[in-house]
């Protein structure tokens, strides 16, 4: 369902994504992990067509990102890292806009809005402007938009940020059920606990390079670690936490200049 080969993105001299290749099959949920600035969001932006790759090939839902971008866009849903929205719109107006951009029938749009708003406990705020929404409500708004047009592939970039416990539980169950129905999900996150419970397969990116791509069990065997955070630390070489903590304490408490 998602095929990526030799994907590279360069910003001048800086290589954000360095020659990565992977494949995600239909009905799979794959966790895409990595430290800050590793290239996770850049990869996702290239997959959804918001950024042009420097080189490499992308195919999603059978459509080539270079030649059939429009068809590709029709089949995907995207939850970005930052909840940037047209704040003067109300939730209803925002979802209407999304529905129209995806060429849905007006009656279907209205029906979906009512049902989704109730599902995400947003019916009471549906006619309020987004500018008055909390971060969690904005995130719900983005998730609803990504689900409006029944996409075949979902690209989720930290989708649970700012969500309350109830909604996170609902989302986890929902994503699992969607995968059972044959939807493909690429899930990008820092929260390793969620990735561990939700994603049977994990990909780890570090400094733009894909350093691991295997089922969680296999990664455990490879690294001789049981918890995903330990596996992650070992693979991304995140070591020396105690020394770093001591150094941080020294910097924070410092009030005079060194002689």
């Amino acid at each position: 369902m998602i095929q990526v080969s030799n994907l590279t993105k360069k910003y001048g001299q800086n290589t954000a994504v360095d020659d990565i290749s992977f494949e995600v099959k239909q009905g799979e949920i794959v966790g895409y992990l990595g430290p800050n600035g590793a290239g996770k969001s850049t990869t996702l932006k290239m997959l959804v067509g918001l950024l042009h790759p420097t080189s490499g090939e992308i195919a999603v839902a059978g459509y080539d990102a270079q030649t059939e971008l429009l068809e590709l866009k029709r089949h995907i849903g995207y939850v970005p890292e930052e909840a940037q929205l047209y704040e003067h719109l109300t939730l209803v107006e925002h979802l209407q806009l999304i529905g129209r951009l995806y060429h849905l029938e007006e009656r279907l749009i209205a029906q979906k809005i009512e049902e989704l708003a109730k599902l995400f406990d947003m019916a009471f705020q549906a006619n309020q402007r987004i500018s008055g929404f909390s971060q969690g409500m904005r995130q719900k708004c983005i998730i609803m938009s990504a689900l409006m047009h029944n996409p075949d592939v979902l690209f989720l970039d930290e989708p649970f940020t700012n969500l309350d416990v109830g909604t996170v539980t609902l989302m986890k169950a929902l994503l699992q059920r969607l995968a059972d129905l044959g939807k493909t999900i690429l899930y990008c996150t820092h929260i390793l606990e969620v990735a561990e419970t939700l994603c049977p397969r994990i990909m780890i990116i570090n400094s733009g390079k894909l350093i691991a791509d295997a089922p969680v069990e296999e990664l455990r065997q490879q690294t001789n670690q049981t918890a995903l955070n330990e596996i992650f630390a070992q693979l991304t070489e995140t070591t020396g936490i105690d020394e770093k903590t001591e150094e941080a304490i020294r910097i924070v408490t410092e009030n005079t200049l060194d002689a």
Binding site: E71, E93, A123, S131
Partner: protein, 539 residues
Amino acid sequence: MLERIVERLGASSTQYKYLLQTEKLMEKRALEGKNNFAANFSLAAAWGFCFIISIPVTFIPFLLPIDTFSYALIGITVSMMMIGSFMIPYFDIFLSPINYPVIAHTPVSSRTYFLVKLTQILKYTLLLLACLNLMPAIGGIWIRMDESSEFQYFFPLVYLLAAFMSGFFTIGVMTTFAGYLTKLYTKKRFRNIAQYVQFIFQFFFPLMCILLYYLSPDSLMDKLTSILKWFNALPNAWFAGIVVLALGEIERYFLILTGLAIASTFFLVFVPLRSIAKSYSEYLSYLLESGSKQTSKLRVKTPLFARIFRNRAVRAGLCLSFVYIRRDRLLLRQFFASLGTAIMFTVMFNLTLDQIWVDDSFPIGLSPGFSAMFYTVGFSIVSSFILLVKYSEHWKASWILMLAPLSAPSDLWRGVQAAACLYLIAPCTLLMLCMATVIWGTLGIFYVLPVLIVLLNLVVFYPKPRAGLPLAEEFVQKQLAPAVWIPHLGYVLGAVFAGIQFLAYVINIRVYYGFYYFIVAGGLISFTCLFQKKERRRS
């Protein structure tokens, strides 16, 4: 020097310096990767426009036996009016709370932040003032010796000083006005009023002159003289008084005017501006609040007219821009400012209706006054909307539009054009049709038709954003320059259009009718063809 002034005004010079540097850097970075040439050209065009406007004033001493006071009065009046109307778009610098949350929790005083914003506005004012007054300052040397003082060669220096003072005074008055408007935001029910009264700037002063003219029962020359008397009570005469006094005419009258100019400037700085500066942060935090109303019912409604369009991308563009016309502060402020111009021209036309513009000897459909008025009203409203709907403080949300599977993203812009036609041109045309029907009966439609078609074509031909997406560009001060000069250029073009219409009639009645049918039929065909062309491309 500047740091000392800042400290004197009760602000921190270090914070002021670095905040100002940051604002400049942000403006520079925001334009990186964009068409910087276009922004620079627009800015240069605004200055060029100011320069051109100053030329007729410069030639007055060569054409009329004018005295120094009257010449300085005309020059300063033009300068103050232009600065007033040109500065409206820049007031978003002052009233924008966009970057405020970044520094709101830091120990930056309200006064410091206020001074940073005011400096940014003054930066643009200085250049505009120079362009507006340089030529008239030089022209003043040629005021005839019997009408001038022996120190006439000092005129440029003294005039420039007075003109710059008058410019700062205008900005001070406008900032005070904008500041107190922002204060109204602290009371929710006044928030809309604060948006709507923006139009006062645009039409108040010219309209007062016209009303004074009509309220006066005297003959034409007496009327003009009586109007000029009223100017003496206004700030422009106070600053003109400085010029005459500094050139050596020490009379009680000029002493009073100069005293008024200096005292009012000091009063403005030390009373209202000081008070606004003190509470500026408080106002900004109110601006950050949402104006959302609490509603418990879930209602899914589609705006009127939206269903006319089968193309859903057009419909989406229409609905999005329609919401922003009603709710976006930047758009509303510009829209109501342009509404001021519209009201002014409508009133001007109606006041002058009996004497000049309506003439039975003209053929059907020809009334240069009506055409110019309708065009100006339509153009000012439409251009203020289309020019600014490219930009938004929510431009980052444009990923939504970029992600959408649209075969022709420009369809969204067509939605904006449709919104301009349906929500701005249509009501404007209806109003004009009512007016024309009252004047010419059922034949009124022939007077409305050509301008309506010109306006429709204007909407289609108006330059669209490079990506073809509405609300997708960052709002950068430098890019506001077109909002300053395009409307003024548009008014000139309106006068040219009405002039050509009249000229065609003067040449020959057949030429006039040929021109009329060419505009109506040709305009309709071009509008329809452009529409069909886009439809074909989409399919």
